[in-house]
């Protein structure tokens, strides 16, 4: 048995200040002769008799070596030109976001339970809530949810609470497949039926099927731009879904810079993924889910809300509010179980939205539109390449060739292009289709090269 003596100098660790002399003095004050005595309530039968079998302790030098070695084995947007989207987008990340996130006072603070010493976090959330409202055209936003998929789960649960006796939700099949899978997981024991409605030839939701499916449903959720890249016609959807709670899902948040906001069209809830607002793709997380609702639904909201008030001297200040919805007060009857959320990522998004502002958000969206339209035009000229969906797009295209998507994408990868995401990862019957995303980061040369390499691959295959 080789358990080290905690008071020996060899046991010290750079993250744990107290060592030999401190420990002995503290044990004296406590009145015991060893640290082991403090663990007597843990039965010997379950105590480890040896150290865990894991590597370390490593110095920073060793950690850098090993982790950088792993990172170097990835092929990513850092060393390739990436056209990958499908719910995670590479946009311009202003340098000052990360610098501000690394400020100790943001990075290493807890949830702002004590408002007198947390006004920085609280005011930032209040501003973030405001941005969400302005962008979506709805009235009340929360502090954050985990991501787009779980935000949709929370929205469905919220919608179900509003209506007694109806237990059916309609989901567009063109909502991100991971989001729909997550909804199925969340709802599996709650007695809620899920009905999915497919898309028509233009890639937009099938209106006839939508109208039929809403019968007996408490709510409906659609995504725009949808998973296939196509911008939905909110007005037509609203007309087909009278009298039920309407949920708009946004998986590409920069699209709100140019598309009409869901709130303007009679949607009750808008949920989505805020990653596109300057957050790196980072293999899927952490991202930031958002939820914005009509005024009348605010007391049904999941998650934290920050409100404005004053202190005893009349100074304006911010505080967590309407907490009686939440698990630490309502326990089993709360509107959600969420506690830890994505506060720091919401702060990053908040800084992004402030920097870009009214004009920048529009400019980013306009560049996405124009560059995507340019690539769409180039691809249309290539024999053998088909763009099967005629509907309007924002920054993502469904592309089809006569060959398996994997073959074509491998040819692009040879030229250091991450060329798209095969639709067959999510849908049967689409072996030759893949999704291609364009953002303001792509140069004309990137787009021309993409078309040229794709053209060569199609003629060669």
């Amino acid at each position: 048995m080789t358990l080290p003596d905690p008071t020996s100098p060899a046991s010290s660790h750079r993250y744990i200040p107290n060592a030999g002399e401190d420990i002995r003095e503290m044990l004296d004050v406590i009145g015991v002769d060893s640290i082991d005595r403090l663990f007597e309530t843990i039965p010997d039968a379950v105590k480890l008799r040896e150290l865990l079998d894991i590597p370390g302790p490593w110095s920073e030098v060793e950690s850098r070596r090993w982790f950088r070695g792993l990172a170097a084995r990835n092929k990513t947007g850092a060393d390739h030109v990436s056209f990958l989207g499908a719910g995670a987008y590479a946009h311009y990340q202003p340098a000052c976001i990360d610098q501000l996130l690394l400020r100790s006072e943001f990075l290493t603070a807890y949830t702002p339970y004590q408002p007198e010493v947390s006004q920085g976090t609280l005011q930032s959330i209040f501003e973030y809530q405001t941005h969400q409202c302005l962008l979506t055209g709805l009235d009340v936003a929360n502090a954050s949810l985990y991501d787009g998929s779980t935000a949709l789960c929370e929205a469905v649960l919220l919608a179900e609470r509003l209506v007694k006796g109806k237990h059916k939700i309609v989901l567009a099949q063109s909502i991100h497949p991971h989001y729909r899978e997550t909804v199925r997981t969340y709802l599996q024991n709650l007695g809620i039926e899920i009905v999915e409605v497919g898309w028509g030839e233009d890639g937009r939701i099938d209106q006839g099927a939508l109208r039929a499916a809403t019968d007996g449903a408490f709510g409906v959720a659609v995504q725009s731009p949808n998973f296939l890249g196509v911008v939905e016609d909110y007005e037509a959807i609203v007309q087909a879904t009278e009298g039920i709670t309407r949920i708009a899902v946004i998986a590409e948040a920069t699209s709100l810079g140019i598309l009409t906001p869901p709130g303007q069209h009679g949607f009750d809830i808008c949920v989505g993924e805020g990653q596109a607002w300057g957050i790196p793709p980072q293999f899927g997380g952490p991202y930031v889910g958002f939820m914005v609702v009509r005024e009348a639904l605010k007391r049904h909201m999941p998650g934290r809300l920050v409100g404005e008030t004053v202190d005893v001297d009349g100074k304006r200040a911010y505080v967590l509010t309407l907490a009686t919805r939440e698990q630490h007060i309502r326990r089993g009857k709360a509107t959600s179980n969420i506690c830890t959320n994505e506060a720091l990522i919401a702060l990053a998004a908040n800084i992004y939205l402030s920097l870009m502002g009214k004009e920048g958000l529009r400019d980013v969206a306009t560049q996405c539109l124009r560059k995507t339209a340019y690539l769409r035009g180039k691809l249309r000229e290539i024999g053998g390449v088909e763009l099967p969906l005629a509907g309007p797009v924002y920054n993502e295209l469904l592309v089809r060739t006569p060959f398996p998507a994997g073959t074509i994408l491998a040819a692009l990868e040879e030229q250091k292009i991450l060329g798209g995401i095969p639709l067959s990862m999510f849908f049967d019957g689409h072996p030759n289709d893949f999704l291609v995303a364009v953002t303001e980061l792509h140069t004309k040369e990137n787009l021309d090269q993409y078309a040229a390499v794709l053209s060569a691959a199609v003629s060669r295959s």
């Binding site: 007597e40 150290l51 990075l107 007198e116 005011q123 954050s144 980072q282 698990q327 720091l344």
Partner: protein
Amino acid sequence: MTEHTKTTALEPLIFERSKPGRRGYQLPDLEVPEQDLDEILPAALRRSEIADEVEVSEVDVIRHFTRLSKLNVSIDAGLYPLGSCTMKHNPRINEEIARTPGFAQSHPLQAEHQVQGNLELLWTLEQTLKEIFGLPRVTLQPVAGAHGELTGILMVHKALSKSGNARKYILIPDSAHGTNPASAAFAGYEIKELKSNSRGTVDLSTLEAAVTEDVAALMITVPNTLGVFESEIKAMADILHAKGAYLYCDGANLNSFVGIARPGDMGIDVIHSNLHKTFSTPHGGGGPGAGPVGVSESLIPYLPTPTVERREDGTFYLDDSHPDSIGRMRAFNGNFNVLVRALTYMRSMGPTGLRRIAQLAVLNANYIRARLKKHYHLPYDAPSLHEVVFSDKLQTPHDVHTLDIAKRLMDFGFHPPTIYFPLIVSGALMIEPTESEPKEELDAFCDAMIAIAHESQERPELVRSAPHTTPVRRLDEARAARQPVLRWKP
């Protein structure tokens, strides 16, 4: 908003700094032809503007957020003894490694051969957590403690359903975190609360009486929210298992026994660990976190998909082929870049360092307990591990309450402990110093607490009206809830 509140704001809202014509960004040139937007996207689908959005420069933004940051206290600035929250030091090597471009710019839907580094990292983290938990599999998908709880209870539900009866109830002690009953409810269960005994733990007889054929699991925090270890944990597991029920452990307090004992060896079937607690990923003002869930053999078929697997040739892949899985808990692969930080931390600590975490966290908490027990009432005097819970019983005769003590601590430069929790203690002050605090800091904190105890007798008004030195003083929280103002309006 009145002019008065505007002029007395600490820092204007970013919206109040906005001036037409200012800009905080520059995009690269468009380069492609400037095609008429009407030809690309019908005007009916486009908004004319984002009314009332801000126009500010980069200077405005950096000053604004820097000034806001200065209104926060943080663990980097000093002791932040929130009980159950484990506010420990956040090493900066973790931040640096998470920002490695090969991790940060990797896309979640990339082909497996392009992300072997990421998959190996996830697989390695699972191996490490398996060893720490003493359990045979771990899912890394949940992104928070409560998300892990939901994952774990959904697995229990699925396993029991498979054997014919999902059952109706989850047992939860009255000392539990609020997320436990909330998660159990969203997994489809009703809650039965178990009363704690005079030590603050659960009696075997109480458990035995409560475990009927309708009980799916006991959800218990070990050590509990008083910091007291459930010494009968193995016997509890036996009682549950004999009735076909599961033992779920809320691992929020793993920091107190990591490397000392393992949940799997205690008969625990499911545990989530908050990586933003025990494994030091920064709390960031309320997240992001990660809540991996370890499970015993019988629950493996129900793990969320995909799992990360290693082939014999040493390559790694994501495996979706688990027919009995509860499904996907979230889009993509969990909070990957939180997982990177946590694994960096585990490697920095190693087996000796992980054990030392628990030893020093428990020593520090017991030192505070020893120094303060003459000055504050200890409602449960059973030996505690990493946190200690006092009450305001000795102060209430002077009309000084827990909230007042908490606010007064701010004047001494400390963040207050968790207050009014656990609910089984009236006026609780729940103190968790963690292993990160040097003795000098603990002494300064104890001196401040003792000074406040004296002030409560001698100058109670000073304590009742605290804080006096913070950027704002006590807030009108009732007004915030009664007339909610949840956004800025022009």
